[in-house]
Amino acid sequence: MEYGVLVDTTRCIGCRSCQVSCKNENQLPAEVTQLAGHDTGLTNPRKLSAKTFTLVQYHEVDAPDSPGGMRFVFAKRQCMHCDQPACVSACPVTALSQEKHGGISYDEKKCIGCRYCVWACPFGVPTAEWNTLAPRIRKCDMCSDRILTDVRVPELNGQELSGESRARIETSYRLPACVKACATGALLYGRRADLLEEAHRRIEREPGRYHPHVYGEHEVGGTSYLYLSAVPFDQIGFRTDLGTKPYPAYTATALGFVPPAVVGLGIVLGGLHLLAQRKAFVAAEERERAESARNGGETP
C-alpha cells in the first residue's frame, strides 16, 4: 500500500474524463445505458462492473448553509485497493494479489471462477463477466501496467524534448490513466503517507470546506484510495459501517483450518477449471467455424 490516490471531491467537476480514459486504457466496451431517476439520473453506467472499472457518481445533497442551499457532489468510484484486501485473502488460488505500488491486480490464468472475491469485497467492487463462457473477474488494478513500466519519450512530433519536458511527459505515463486525465487536480497520485498528510493539511487549512474525515485512512484497515468531501460520506453513497478492522482479520482463525481442506478441494476445483477452459476453447472454435461458414468459407 505504498502508493495511492487522493480523491478530493470538492475539486471534482464531474466531467467524467477519468471514467472515459479508464475505458480507453483498459479497452472496455460501452454498456447499454438509459437515464433513470437514480442518483440524479445522470450517473451512467449505474454501477461498477466488468465493463466499467471507474465511474463518477452524481449526488444532490441538501445543504441549507451552502450557496444555493445545496451541494452537487461528484464522487469517482473504483476499487479502493485495501491495505489488507478481503478479495486477496478470499482467493483460494492467488489470482488476486497486491502489487508493490499498492494496486490489487488479477491474473486470469490462475482464476478458477469461484467468485469468492466478489462476495468478500466490502465495497462490492470485483465483478465477473457474465456474457462469456470463460468469465474473468474484472476491476481496477490502479494501472499496474502504466506505473510499473518505464516509458521513454525522447521526442515528440519530430522535435527533440528538453530534459524538463521529457521528465514531465515520462512522469505522466507513470500515473493511473484516470489521474492523468483529471483536469482540475481532484485526483492526486503519490505515496499514501504523503497523500494522508496532504489530506489532513487541507482539512486543517480550510475547515469550512471539508467534512473532517479522510475516508480510507482507517476504513477496513486502510485503503490506497483516500477521499475528501464537503459533506458526510454517507450522503454521497459511501458505506460508513465498515469499521476499521481489516476484513481478513475476521476470518483468520477460521481460515487456519482451511489449508488442509483446500488441498483436497483444490484438486477438484482445479479439474473444474481445466474443464471450463476446455469448454471455452471448444465453444470459441465452434463459433469461429460457424462464422467462417457464414462468410462463404473465408476466414475473416
Binding site: S17, V20, Q159
Partner: protein
C-alpha cells in the same frame, strides 16, 4: 477572450454568468480552482445550479433572459456605492465625453433618440460626441493676443477632432451622467421582480464583484452562449463590459471580458472569416455601394478622434491590399484595384447569416448548400423549418467525418414528406478528422497552436483542404472551358498550396500558414532595414498598401516568420503571471492580454498593488507585448489603450449597435410575463424576426406554453453530437435526451424521475426523459411562480440508430434573434411538458440494440 485561459488564475473574483464552463470548458476549471486557491471568490449566476455553481462561493439564480436587468442592477450598485475605479474611468473610458444635445431615451416608449419607425431602425446621429468647434466666420487676424491664443488652442483641438469632455464627470450631458440616469431605474427591488432572484442574493453578487473596482483588484467574467443566444444578446455583453469599464477590469491580469468559444477552433474560424459580414482579420466585407477599392477604403478606414488615439483601423488599406495580393497574386495590380472587383459584394442592408440563409432556402431562393463540418438538421433553430428547407434544395453536399442527420434528412420520421417525393440530390463526402491531418487551431485565448497528424484517415476520407482543392480544380476547368458569368475570381485565384504526393494532390498546410502570415513581394526598405522579396513579413506593422506585401490575414502576421512557425513553440514559462510567451503564438503579435496599456496608469506604472502585465521603464515597455510601441499616455507622443477604437477610449456609450447605445431590459420574444417595469415596451423593437408560416411564436404569458426553456450542452457531447454520439463510451455516459425540471414542477405534473414526457413548443415537440432535480427551483417573478426547464441539444434521430437518443432540442427553438448578430434565441423560449401514457412510453427512447 481579451485574456486567456491560464490568466483566469490571476483573478480576485471570477463571475460565471451566461456560461457553464465546468460542463462545457472543463479544462478552464483548472485555472478557476487555482484562482480560488489564491483567495478569489467564484460567483455563479445561472437559472440552473450547474456544475460551475457546484464550485461557487456565491450562487444566484435568475430567470433566463433577464441578464440585462441583473447587470443593470449591478451598474446602479457600483455607481450608488461609489465602487468604480475612478482614475481608470476618467482616463480610459468615454465617461467624460459630452454627447449631442439631441440624445435621449424615453422610458415610456423604450426608444432612444433617432428611431425611424418606417425602417424599424435607429439613426445614430444624436448618439455622437460633441466636438471642439471654432466659429467658421471668425477672423483670427482681428483678435487680441489673448483671444488669438484661445482661438488657436480651440482650433488645434477641433482639427484633431477632440471631443468636449468634463473630467469631473459632473456635466449632465456627459456619458457618465447619462449612464447613471439610464440605470437609475434598475433598483434591486425591481430587478428582483423581473429576474426572480431574491434581493439578498442580488446584493451578495453585486457586493462581491464590485470589490474589484478597487485599483488593486481584478475581476473577470466568463460568458458564452448563455448571453449571446438572446434577442438582446449583444446588449447582454455590453452590460457586462460597462461593469468591467466602471471597475477598471479591462486589460488587466485576471480581468477582461472573456467569451468562452464553444469549439476548439471557433476562434480560428471567425479570425479567418467563416462569417458573411467579414473578411479575414475582421476587415469588413465589401457592400454593393462600395464600387471600387477606394470607395471601400474610404468607408472602412476611420479617422482618429482626438490627438492621443492610435486609431489602429486607420491601417485598413495596408491590410486590405495585402489580403487582395494574397488572394489574387500577380493578377492583383494597382490598375485593377488589386482585384477588388472580384470579391463578392453584399447588398448594403443584406444579411446572409444562418437564419436568413435557411429562410431563403425554405422560400426556394437558394438552390444548393455545402454543409461542411456541420449538422444543420439538428443545430439550427426551428429544426422543422431547417429540414423542410433542405428538402427544397436541388443539391446538398454533406462533408463530415460521420454520417449525420443532415445528409440523411429525408429519413427524418417527422419530416412528413416521403423520401421519394424529395428532389434534393445529396452528395456525401467523407472528411478526415482533426487528428488525421496537420494544421493549427486557435483557442479562445487567441493562441494559435500547431497540431500534428496522429493517424491516417480511413477509406476515402480527405482533409478539408484537399476536398476544396478538388472542387476548385473542377470549377476552374469548367470556367476555363465554358467561360460563364464573372470567371475572374476563380481564374485569377492564387492557389499554390498543394503538391503532388504519391499520385494525388496533397495540401501543404505549412505553405498555407506562411501565406496567412504574408510575404514581401518586392524588396522593401522600412527604416534602415531592407526586406528581400520572397521573405516572410515579420509583423503587420510592415504590411504595405502599395501591393509590395501580401498577407492572408493581417492579425496572423508574425505567426510564421523567417524564424519559423511560431505556433509550434512549446516552451513553458517557468515563473511569472502565466503569459507563456514562448508557448505557441497569440494574435496579435503574440500579445497575451489585449488592451494591456489599460493595466497601467497614465504614467505607465501598473495600477498600484496589481499583478503587472506591462510596465514603462523610462524608455521601453517590459512584460507582455504592449498594445503598440508608443510611450504611456501621459508622455509626449503617448497613446490611449483602446487602440481599435477611433477615439481610443472604452465605450460606456457605444455607437454601431442596432438596438441602442446603452443596454435596456426587454423580455425574450417568448416570455412568461406580460409586463416590463423598466420601460413601456415588452420586447426589443428591432429584434431579428421571421414571419413565414413555420415561424410561429407563442404569446407572452401563454397558458398553453407556460414554462421557460433553455437549451444547453453536456460535457460528454459536442454540439449536435455527431462526433460524440458515435463514440460508445460517451453515449454510454449520456445516452439520450432529457429534460430537467424542478422537483416542484414534476410533483405538480405528476411526473416521476426517469419517465418519458412530451416537451412541446408552438413549433414542434419531442419526447425526453424527465429528470426532476433540486438544481432547478421555481422562481417568483412579479409575484407569481415561474418554472424554468432545460434540455440538451446534442441528440438526433439517426444515431444511436435505434432512435433511443431522441431528437434535437432545436425542434423547439424559435427563428428569432439578436438584431446585431442574428444569433437565434435558444436560451429563453416557452414550452409545455406533458406526461405520456404508459403504452406510448414503451415505444419511446428505449435502447434496443447498440454497440453490437
Amino acid at each position: 477572450m481579451t485574456n486567456h485561459w491560464i490568466d483566469l488564475r490571476n483573478s480576485d473574483c471570477v463571475l460565471i454568468m451566461g456560461a457553464n464552463p465546468a460542463e462545457n470548458h472543463p479544462i478552464s476549471f483548472r485555472w478557476v480552482l487555482k484562482a480560488k486557491e489564491r483567495g478569489a471568490k467564484v460567483v455563479c449566476v445561472d437559472p440552473r445550479f450547474t456544475k460551475s455553481a457546484s464550485q461557487a462561493d456565491i450562487y444566484a439564480r435568475l430567470r433566463s433572459g433577464t441578464d440585462i436587468a441583473f447587470l443593470g442592477g449591478m451598474i446602479k450598485y457600483i455607481l450608488d456605492n461609489d465602487r468604480m475605479h475612478r482614475d481608470y474611468v476618467v482616463n480610459y473610458t468615454n465617461a467624460s465625453f459630452l454627447v449631442d444635445d439631441g440624445f435621449s431615451f424615453d422610458a415610456a416608449t423604450a426608444l432612444f433618440s433617432g428611431y425611424d419607425e418606417a425602417r424599424n431602425a435607429y439613426d445614430e446621429k444624436t448618439w455622437q460626441y460633441r466636438f471642439h468647434r471654432v466659429d467658421p466666420d471668425a477672423r483670427p487676424e482681428t483678435m487680441t493676443p489673448a483671444q488669438r491664443t484661445e482661438y488657436d488652442r480651440v482650433k488645434a483641438l477641433a482639427d484633431a477632432r477632440e471631443p468636449l469632455k468634463d473630467p469631473t464627470l459632473q456635466d449632465p450631458r456627459c456619458v457618465f451622467q447619462l449612464l447613471k440616469r439610464h440605470f437609475a431605474r434598475y433598483d434591486a427591488a425591481t430587478v428582483s421582480q423581473v429576474t426572480g432572484t431574491p434581493v439578498a442574493d442580488l446584493e451578495r453578487v453585486y457586493a462581491a464583484f464590485s470589490t474589484t473596482g478597487a485599483p488593486d483588484k481584478a475581476g473577470t467574467i466568463m460568458y458564452a452562449m448563455g448571453w449571446t443566444q438572446h434577442t438582446v444578446g449583444v446588449q447582454n455583453i455590453r452590460a457586462m463590459t460597462i461593469v468591467q469599464m466602471l471597475l477598471g477590469n479591462l486589460g488587466r491580469a485576471g480581468g477582461g471580458v472573456n467569451a468562452l468559444r464553444g469549439e476548439s477552433n471557433v476562434q480560428g474560424s471567425t479570425d479567418q472569416a467563416l462569417l458573411f459580414h467579414i473578411l479575414p482579420g475582421y476587415l469588413k466585407a465589401p457592400r454593393a455601394s462600395q464600387q471600387t477599392l477606394d470607395d471601400y477604403l474610404k468607408v472602412n478606414t476611420p479617422t482618429a478622434i482626438g490627438r492621443n488615439s492610435a486609431n489602429w483601423w486607420g491601417n485598413t488599406p495596408k491590410y486590405m491590399v495585402s489580403l487582395l495580393k494574397s488572394m489574387f497574386g500577380d493578377a492583383a495590380t494597382p490598375a485593377n484595384g488589386f482585384g477588388y472587383d472580384w470579391l463578392p459584394r453584399l447588398q448594403d442592408s443584406g444579411n446572409y447569416s444562418w437564419m436568413h440563409l435557411f429562410d431563403e432556402m425554405y422560400e426556394g431562393r437558394i438552390r444548393g448548400l455545402l454543409a461542411w463540418g456541420m449538422n444543420p438538421a439538428c443545430s439550427g433553430p426551428n429544426s422543422t423549418k431547417t429540414r423542410q428547407a433542405l428538402a427544397k434544395l436541388d443539391w446538398l453536399v454533406n462533408v463530415n467525418i460521420f454520417p449525420n442527420e443532415t445528409g440523411w434528412f429525408f429519413e427524418d420520421p417527422g419530416l412528413g414528406i416521403r423520401p421519394e417525393d424529395i428532389r434534393t440530390e445529396v452528395f456525401v463526402l467523407p472528411a478526415a478528422a482533426s487528428v488525421e491531418k496537420e494544421g493549427s487551431i486557435s483557442n479562445s485565448g487567441r493562441w494559435m497552436q500547431w497540431r500534428y497528424k496522429a493517424a491516417d484517415a480511413p477509406g476515402d476520407a480527405l482533409p478539408d483542404a484537399e476536398i476544396m482543392d478538388l472542387i476548385f480544380h473542377e470549377l476552374r476547368a469548367l470556367y476555363q472551358a465554358e467561360g460563364g458569368a464573372l470567371p475572374e475570381p476563380i481564374l485569377n485565384a492564387k492557389w499554390d498550396y498543394f503538391r503532388e504526393h504519391g499520385g494525388h494532390r496533397e495540401a501543404d498546410v505549412r505553405a498555407i500558414a506562411r501565406e496567412i502570415n504574408g510575404y514581401f513581394l518586392k524588396d522593401v526598405t522600412i527604416g534602415d532595414k531592407t526586406f528581400k522579396a520572397g521573405t516572410l513579413v515579420p509583423a503587420f506593422g510592415m504590411l504595405q498598401a502599395d501591393g509590395s506585401t501580401s498577407s492572408g490575414n493581417w492579425i496572423y502576421c508574425a505567426s510564421y516568420t523567417e524564424a519559423g512557425n511560431m505556433s509550434m513553440r512549446r516552451t513553458r514559462e517557468p515563473h511569472g503571471i502565466g503569459l507563456n510567451p514562448e508557448w505557441a503564438w497569440a494574435w496579435p503579435v503574440n500579445r497575451r492580454i489585449l488592451y494591456n496599456r489599460a493595466s497601467v496608469d497614465p504614467a505607465g506604472k501598473p495600477w498600484k498593488g496589481t499583478i503587472p502585465v506591462v510596465e514603462w521603464v523610462g524608455d521601453r515597455w517590459v512584460g507582455d507585448v504592449p498594445d503598440g510601441p508608443w510611450p504611456p499616455l501621459a508622455a509626449e507622443g503617448g497613446r490611449l489603450p483602446f487602440i481599435m477604437r477611433a477615439d481610443g477610449h472604452a465605450a460606456l456609450l457605444a455607437t454601431g449597435l442596432k438596438d441602442g447605445p446603452f443596454p435596456e431590459h426587454f423580455e425574450p420574444l417568448e416570455s412568461p410575463v406580460t409586463r416590463n417595469p423598466f420601460n413601456g415596451r415588452l420586447q426589443n423593437p428591432v429584434a431579428a424576426r421571421f414571419r413565414g408560416e413555420l415561424d410561429k411564436v407563442a404569446a407572452c404569458g401563454s397558458d398553453q406554453y407556460p414554462y421557460v426553456c433553455s437549451t444547453y450542452r453536456v460535457t460528454e457531447h459536442w454540439q449536435t453530437g455527431v462526433m460524440t454520439r458515435n463514440a460508445p463510451w460517451l453515449l454510454e455516459a449520456v445516452p439520450q435526451i432529457f429534460v430537467e425540471m424542478s422537483e416542484e414542477l414534476a410533483r405538480d405534473l405528476g411526473i416521476r424521475a426517469g419517465e418519458q414526457v412530451r416537451v412541446s413548443s408552438i413549433r414542434g415537440a419531442l419526447t425526453a426523459v424527465a429528470l426532476p432535480t433540486k438544481r432547478l427551483r421555481p422562481l417568483q417573478v412579479h409575484g407569481r411562480t415561474v418554472h424554468q426547464v432545460g434540455l440538451p441539444w446534442c441528440f438526433g434521430w439517426r444515431v444511436p440508430n435505434d432512435g433511443s437518443g431522441g431528437d434535437s432540442a432545436n425542434l423547439l427553438t424559435p427563428c428569432a434573434g439578436d438584431p446585431n448578430t442574428t444569433i437565434p434565441e435558444s436560451k429563453a423560449f416557452l414550452v409545455n411538458i406533458e406526461k405520456i401514457d404508459a403504452v406510448t412510453q414503451s415505444a419511446h427512447l428505449l435502447p434496443r440494440r447498440r454497440n453490437a
